[in-house]
C-alpha cells in the first residue's frame, strides 16, 4: 500500500500556486500558548462552580426541549429513589452501569436487588492482566447488549444544547450509554458548562497535558431519525428513551 | 405635500425588456419619479446591460454591452431602473464580468454606487414611504387586494426586502396579502426559462398556485421579467389576476396630471 503522501501534498501545493510548504500565520485560537489555554480552562471550571445553579436550570430547560426526561433532585437518596422508580416503571430486569463515582454514592445495589433487578458494573478490574482484560471487554459487551437500561454519570453537561458529555475513563464503557434501549444519566451540580465552546476549551487543556482521550461523546436526547417521509422516530440504533437526573 | 429640498437628478435605465415589451412600465416610472420631485432624463444611447449573455456564459458578448452602458451612464446622476435584476447586473455582476478588464472595472466601480432599483431609490434615497400625501385627483381609490412577488436579484443581490411592501402598504385602498413561499423564485432565470422549460414551468405553477391562494386581484413585482413569467402563466392558465409593476401600481393609485409629454399610458 504505497502512501502517495508526498505526491498528494505536492499536488495541493501546486494548486495553491507554490512549490514549498508554507507555515501560515495562525488563525483563531491556534496560536494560544499553553498558559492561556490553562487560564481559560480554570476560568471555565471556576465559572461552572460559581454559576452552578443557573447553569443547572438552563440545562434543565434545554435538555427537556431536546427530548430528555429530566428530574432535579436534592440528594443522592432522592436520586436513587427516582432511578429505582424509572426502572420499575419500565419493568426492567437488568441494568448495566458505569463506574462513575456519583453512582457509587447512590448506593443502588440494595434497592435494585429488592426490586429483582440485576445490576452489572461494566468495568474492567484494576488488576486485570491483558488476557483478563480481553475477556472482561467481551463480557462488558455482552452485558450492554442484553441490558434493559444503561446507567451512567457524566463528565460534563452542556446548558446551551441540553447535552451530556462522556469521556473515556477507567470503568466507563461507551457502550453503556449506547446499546441498551434506555439510558439514564446522572449529572452533578458543578458539571454543567455553558456551551460547546467551553467544552472544547477543556479538551484543548487535555490535549496539551497529553490527556486527550480516544473519544468524546456528546449525547443529546434519544436516538432519532427522520429519514422516512421527514417523520421523526426515536430509538433507531441508540436508546429511544433517555432520562437525565440533575443532582444538587 | 412633502418634497425633498433639492431635486435629485436621475438617469432612467429603462432596461431592454421594458423598452421593447413593457414601455408603459417605463412611463409609469418616469411619472412617479417626477411626481416625487425628481429630475429625470433618458440617455438615449442605452440598449442593454448585457445580462442575458453574461448569464448564458457568453461573457465576450456581454462585455461590449457593458462598455456601452458605462459610457452612456457616465457622469454623476443617479441611475434608476424599474428592475432589481438589471440594477444588480450593473451594481454587482459587472464586478465579475469585468474582472479582467481593468479600465472598465474601474468605471463600473464608479457607476455602481449610483445605481438603484426603483423602490429602493424612492424609499432609501428620496426617503418616501407613505405615498398617501401624493395622491392626486385622478388617483384610483377603489379597493384593491394585491400580493407582492419578491424578485430574487432584488432581494438577494441588492438586499432590497422591505422597501416595495412599505410602498404598497402606504397606498390608500390597497390591501396587501403575502403569498406562501414569497421569497421563492418564480422560475424565470433568463435563458433558464427556455433551456429548462419543464423545471421553469413547474416553479411557475407553484407560484401561480400561491398567487391564487391569496385571493388577490393583482400581483405586483419590481421586475418586468418576473411579470413576463408570472403574467404569461396566469394568462395561459386563464387566471384572472393582473400582473403589474410596482411603478404602475403607484402611478395608477396616486394619479398624475402631467407625465412625460405626449406619452399615452397604455
Amino acid at each position: 500500500m504505497a502512501d502517495g503522501r508526498e505526491q498528494f501534498l505536492r499536488t495541493v501545493r501546486q494548486a495553491l500556486g507554490r512549490d514549498q510548504a508554507a507555515t501560515p500565520p495562525p488563525k483563531s485560537g491556534e496560536a494560544d500558548g499553553e498558559s492561556s489555554i490553562r487560564d481559560r480552562a480554570s476560568e471555565i471550571q471556576r465559572e461552572a462552580e460559581d454559576n452552578a445553579d443557573a447553569l443547572m436550570s438552563r440545562l434543565h430547560e434545554a435538555a427537556t426541549e431536546a427530548g430528555w426526561n429530566v428530574t432535579r433532585v436534592a440528594s443522592p437518596a432522592e436520586a436513587a429513589d427516582h432511578i429505582l422508580r424509572v426502572v420499575q416503571d419500565l419493568e426492567a430486569r437488568s441494568i448495566v452501569r458505569s463506574a462513575h463515582d456519583v453512582l457509587d454514592a447512590l448506593a443502588l445495589d440494595e434497592g435494585m436487588a429488592r426490586a429483582g433487578v440485576s445490576m452489572t458494573l461494566a468495568a474492567i478490574g484494576d488488576m486485570a492482566t491483558e488476557g483478563q482484560r480481553q475477556e472482561q471487554r467481551a463480557s462488558i459487551r455482552e452485558s450492554c447488549i442484553s441490558a434493559d437500561v444503561g446507567l451512567t454519570g457524566v463528565d460534563h453537561a452542556i446548558a446551551e444544547t441540553g447535552s451530556v458529555v462522556l469521556l473515556p475513563r477507567r470503568g466507563v464503557s461507551r457502550l453503556v450509554s449506547l446499546l441498551p434501549p434506555v439510558h439514564v444519566a446522572v449529572v452533578r451540580r458543578g458539571q454543567v458548562l455553558p456551551g460547546l465552546d467551553e467544552l472544547f476549551a477543556l479538551q484543548r487543556l487535555d490535549h496539551i497535558e497529553g490527556d486527550l482521550g480516544s473519544y468524546l461523546n456528546i449525547i443529546t436526547g434519544p436516538s432519532r431519525s427522520a429519514d422516512i417521509e421527514h417523520t421523526l422516530v426515536t430509538g433507531v440504533h441508540g436508546p429511544g428513551e433517555v432520562h437525565m437526573v440533575l443532582l444538587g | 405635500m412633502s418634497q425633498p429640498p433639492e431635486s435629485p437628478k436621475v438617469s432612467l435605465f429603462v432596461t431592454c425588456v421594458v423598452d421593447q415589451f413593457y414601455p408603459e412600465i417605463g412611463e409609469s416610472t418616469v411619472r412617479v419619479l417626477r411626481r416625487l420631485g425628481v429630475d429625470v432624463d433618458f440617455p438615449s444611447a442605452q440598449t442593454c446591460c448585457g445580462q442575458p449573455a453574461f448569464n448564458s456564459g457568453f461573457w465576450s458578448e456581454a462585455i461590449p454591452l457593458a462598455r456601452g452602458f458605462l459610457k452612456t451612464f457616465a457622469g454623476d446622476r443617479y441611475i434608476v431602473a424599474p428592475s432589481g435584476s438589471c440594477a444588480s447586473m450593473v451594481r454587482v455582476f459587472y464586478e465579475e464580468l469585468l474582472h479582467d478588464e481593468p479600465d472598465l472595472l474601474e468605471k463600473a466601480r464608479a457607476v455602481a454606487p449610483r445605481v438603484f432599483e426603483f423602490s429602493e431609490f424612492v424609499v432609501d434615497v428620496l426617503g418616501v414611504t407613505d405615498l398617501s400625501s401624493f395622491v392626486g385627483q385622478t388617483g384610483d381609490t377603489s379597493d384593491r387586494n394585491v400580493t407582492y412577488h419578491e424578485g430574487c436579484h432584488l432581494r438577494r443581490e441588492l438586499g432590497v426586502t422591505t422597501q416595495p411592501t412599505a410602498l404598497i402598504e402606504g397606498l390608500p385602498g390597497v390591501q396587501l396579502t403575502e403569498m406562501e413561499q414569497v421569497d421563492v423564485c418564480c422560475g424565470f432565470g433568463g435563458t433558464f426559462a427556455v433551456k429548462f422549460s419543464d423545471i421553469s414551468t413547474a416553479m411557475l405553477q407553484d407560484k401561480i398556485e400561491y398567487v391564487q391562494a391569496t385571493g388577490a386581484d393583482t400581483v405586483v413585482s419590481c421586475d418586468a421579467t418576473c411579470l413576463m413569467q408570472i403574467g404569461g402563466g396566469l394568462e395561459l392558465n386563464g387566471v384572472d389576476v393582473r400582473p403589474v409593476h410596482l411603478a404602475q401600481l403607484i402611478d395608477e393609485r396616486i394619479g398624475i396630471e402631467s407625465g412625460i409629454s405626449r406619452a399615452q399610458p397604455r
Binding site: 461507551r174 421527514h230 | 440598449t47 421553469s200
Partner: protein, 470 residues
Amino acid sequence: MRPDTKNFKRGAAKALGNERIQANLLGLYNGFDRARLAAADGTPDWELMREQARAIKAHTIDNLDYYLELAASNVEKAGGTVFFAKDADAAAGYVTDLALARGVKLVIKGKSMVSEEMSLNERLTDAGIEPVETDLGEYIIQLAGETPYHIIAPAIHKSREEVTDLFEAKLNSPRYEEITELAAEARRQLRDKFIRADMGITGANFIVAETGTVALVTNEGNGRMCTSMPRIHVAITGMEKIIPSMDDLGIFLRLLIRSATGQRISSYVTTVTGPRHADDEDGPDEFHLVIVDNGRSRLLADPELRESLYCIRCGACLNACPVYRKVGGHAYGWVYPGPIGAIVTPVMTNLADAKDLPFASSLCGACREACPVKINIPRMLLHLRKEVTEGRKYPTERNRSVLEALAMRLWRLSLSSPAALSIANSVARVLQKPLLRKGRIRWLPPPLSGWTPSRTFPAFVRPFRQRWRG
C-alpha cells in the same frame, strides 16, 4: 459512483412527472429549510458566526498543505494511520486491501458521501467482504440498489409504502404500516451486524488539525456504533474537511447541525482521536484516516471556484434550492446534487459531460442565502457557464452550442446601438404578426419554443425610447 451527468434533463423530467416525489421534495421546504431559519433565529450571533466560519475556512483552504500535514502528524501521534488518496480508486483500494489483510468479513458503514465517490460498497463486495450501510436512509438506499437522493436525507424520495415493499421483498419482513415499525425492523436487522462487524467505516464531518481529531455528527447512533463496536475504524474524508483548532469546532458544529436539520445539536456528536488507549474499556484496536483528493485539487487550483471547498456538506443549499426541490437528487447524476453539486460535480468529474448542471439554475441566490459559510454559489455557476461556452480554463472541456453562439451574436449586434435596436424592433414587429393572438404570442420557434407551452409571451411594441420626449 460512476458519473451519469449527461442526462440531467431526462432525470429532471422523471422527477417532475412523479407526484409522490414532488410531495416529498416539497417537504424539504416546510421541513428542513424552515427549521434552518428558525434555528438561525434562535442562535445569538448567527451572522457573526457565519462570517467567522467563512474566514476560518478561507484561511485553512489557502494553507491546506500545512494543515493536512499537521492533521496527519497528529493522527499518527495519537496512534492512528493516515493514508492520502489521490483519487477514489486509490482510496477504495486502500480500504479494501486493509480489510482483506485483516481478515475482515463484515463492514458496517456510517453515512459517507466520499465513500459514494469511491463506489466503496461495490469494491468491498467484489473482494468478498459484506458492506452494510447503517444510517436508516442509506440502509434503505442500499437495499433498493440506488444512490443517495440527498446528502443529509438519502432516502427522502421514498414513501413509507415503498420502504414497506422494499423491506418485504429484501428482508422478508411483515407489511408494516407505521414508520416506527419500519425503523424498529431496521434496528433489529442492523443490531446483529453491529455486533458481528470487524470494521466500521465512517465519514468525517471535521478533522481538527491541532489534535488529529475526527468529529462525527449523527442522530441515530450508528456513527457511535461504527466507531466503538468493531476492532477497526476507518474514517474517510475529503481533504477540505480540516479545521485548524478545537476552538473552531463549536462554531462549525452549530452551523452544520442547525443548517442541516434545524436541531440545536444532533443526538450524538462523537469525536475520535486515534484508536482505543490501552486502558480504555472498549473501542477499536486500529484507527485509519483516509484523506481523499479525487478532483478537489482542481477546485483548489481555480481561484474562482476555490470557495466551493469551504462547504461543510450541511445540505442547506439543496433544501433552499427551488430547482433541487423540483428535480431531486438523481438528476444531477453523481454524489453531490443541488447547487453545490452543480459546482463541484462538473470539475471533479467532467465539465463537458456535466455542462447542463451549472445552467440548471435560475440564479435566484437562495443557496447563498442559506449557506452557513456564505459560499457564493451563483457567482461560481456564472463562472462555470463561461467555461462551458468559452473554455478559457478548461479548453478541452468546452461544450457550447454553435447555434446558441450564433443567436447570442445576433442578439448582441441588435443591441450594439440604438439605431440597430430600432431596426431589430421594426423587423421583430413585422415577423411576430402571424404569431399574435389578442396582442400576445402563443407560439415561438426554437430556440425559444420552450417558453410558450406554459406561458404566453408579450409582443414587441413601439419601444419606450420612441415614446420618450424628455
